[in-house]
Amino acid sequence: MNDKLVDIKKINVSKPLKLDCGKTIKDFPLAYETYGKLSNNKDNAILVFHALTGDQFVSEVNPVTKKEGWWITAVGPGKAIDTNKYFVICANVIGGCMGSLGPRDLNPETKQPYGLDFPVITIKDIVRAQESLLEHLGIKKLLCATGGSMGGMQLLQFCATFPDKTFSAIPIACSSSHSAQNIALNELARQAIMADPVWDKGKYVLKNLQPKNGLAVARMVGHISYLSEKGMQEKFGRKLQEKADYEFSFDADFQVESYLRHQGYAFVERFDANSILYITRAMDYFDLSKQFKGGLIEAFRNQKAKFLIISFSSDWLYTTKENKDIVIALNASGADVSYSEITTDKGHDSFLIDEPEFLKTMKGFIDSMYEKFKNEKRI
């Protein structure tokens, strides 16, 4: 929330960007972070797309929250995405709240924070906004692009919109179109925010407030969906939170309640409620097949990237079936695609935690792609 207090890298995107909703934004900030060093040949760049509540601080310590980067398990020196070897880039999505243009920023027309005057954005808008960053960094072709969940959706869009901008792609635990269940869960999150009287049709920003209760509930919904039934049972069961017996009250008797409350209220310190509305909307509108006549197969028709799709067996938010549908479409379009389903009880969250089989698979793919990409560049 305090991006002015710390040094956040930003570019100003001066080129007007016509959004899917019809409105145009221009001269807007796009915040990003990089890790590792770009090689002289510029052949080692990996673009990471972050998920709904993520930001550009993938690795090391997030300078704003002072916590570890959200993908510290995968990105860093010696990690699966090895920053000793690769140059890792991540941009904050537009609509977000970590330095890129979002609903908390000033509307140049009214000189007031946007609030609900912020234009409704799509995954495609989010991705197109990030193209300027690659231009700014002088990278014509990425070695790899990757992302989980909404990050994976951005990646699919990126590949469809720019079929020749990355040598390889690893979409993780995602979908090519948001399912009814996905939309329903997002709507639950939005309704929780909107039901908080502080939200006040998004105008809380003018009063420098935050609808904390609503936003916390929205986050709790998310956290339930990121775990599997089995994982949750194993982690919490019916264990009580620092007490011997029930207290016959509505305090957090159970550990799982305490966990949700903690996650919910920690979240409000670092995220903006209106951003959740805008970004979840972008996810709900995402349907890659709708953008192309002939559906998903056409979306990947001229695909140059080599894909590795990864799903997790216990993920019920973005299921193996949904991920496989992407594989089938890529296959049908003749693209180069690999697919692996990681067996785990950890649910959708698997891509964010230390899941050795997942990390090994990703590392093996990226390292082998690097060798191929170098060879291709040499030729």
Partner: protein, 202 residues
């Protein structure tokens, strides 16, 4: 079974494949045949493998592989989307080999199948003289733990193709380092002396 796969088999399969073709290796294991084919030939090769570890090994080698079960997931590949589909020593392990074979012929313009030959003389002798299910180099499992549900002989597969009107383009018999062409005329003899039969059909 896969780890005992003869190098000779790879060579025969490679010789059956023209350059500049798209090939799907069904049940590709750790990708050793795919690696071999990539080195020997200018072909585009893909794999399908059920086992997560083996899928990971393929990915580490930079080989494109899809994790999935040939028995249930060949439907994801469009009709005639590959020039050749290769099925190396796996046909006998499926619950429904006939259905898989049909699917292979749908996905590939041609299909290469290799089978461990149950008609090989040592196998026959085992059963005849010892009255026990044969355990050999190409058939290393015992009856209770074998993945091979539908063992067949070269002659069986020959007859099967005839019965189903599947065109047999070429059959190669392999015994250690020796290979020989199998035709209807020498089928009886070759069925006795080949450890492995490699069929090009479709």
């Amino acid at each position: 079974m896969k780890n005992l796969k003869m190098k000779k088999e790879f060579k025969v399969i490679s010789d059956l494949l023209p350059n500049n073709t798209r090939v799907l290796d069904v049940g590709c294991g750790d990708g050793s045949l795919m690696s071999f084919l990539e080195k020997e030939k200018n072909i585009e090769v893909r794999g399908l493998e059920l086992n997560q570890d083996k899928v990971q090994q393929c990915i580490h080698k930079g080989l494109p592989v899809i994790q999935g079960n040939a028995e249930t997931e060949l439907h994801q590949f469009p009709n005639q989307s590959f020039d050749y589909v290769v099925l190396s020593q796996t046909l006998q392990a499926f619950y429904d080999p006939e259905k898989v074979l049909k699917d292979l012929l749908r996905v590939g313009k041609s299909v290469i199948i290799s089978i461990p030959n149950f008609g090989f003389w040592k196998v026959r002798a085992n059963l005849l003289f010892f009255g026990k299910m044969p355990v050999t180099k190409t058939l290393p499992n015992t009856w209770y733990n074998t993945p091979n549900l539908h063992m067949c002989t070269i002659k069986d597969l020959f007859d099967f193709c005839d019965e189903k009107n599947i065109k047999i383009k070429k059959v190669v018999g392999v015994n250690e380092d020796k290979t020989s062409l199998i035709k209807k005329s020498n089928l009886e003899v070759k069925n006795l002396f080949s450890k492995l039969g490699i069929f090009l059909i479709g």
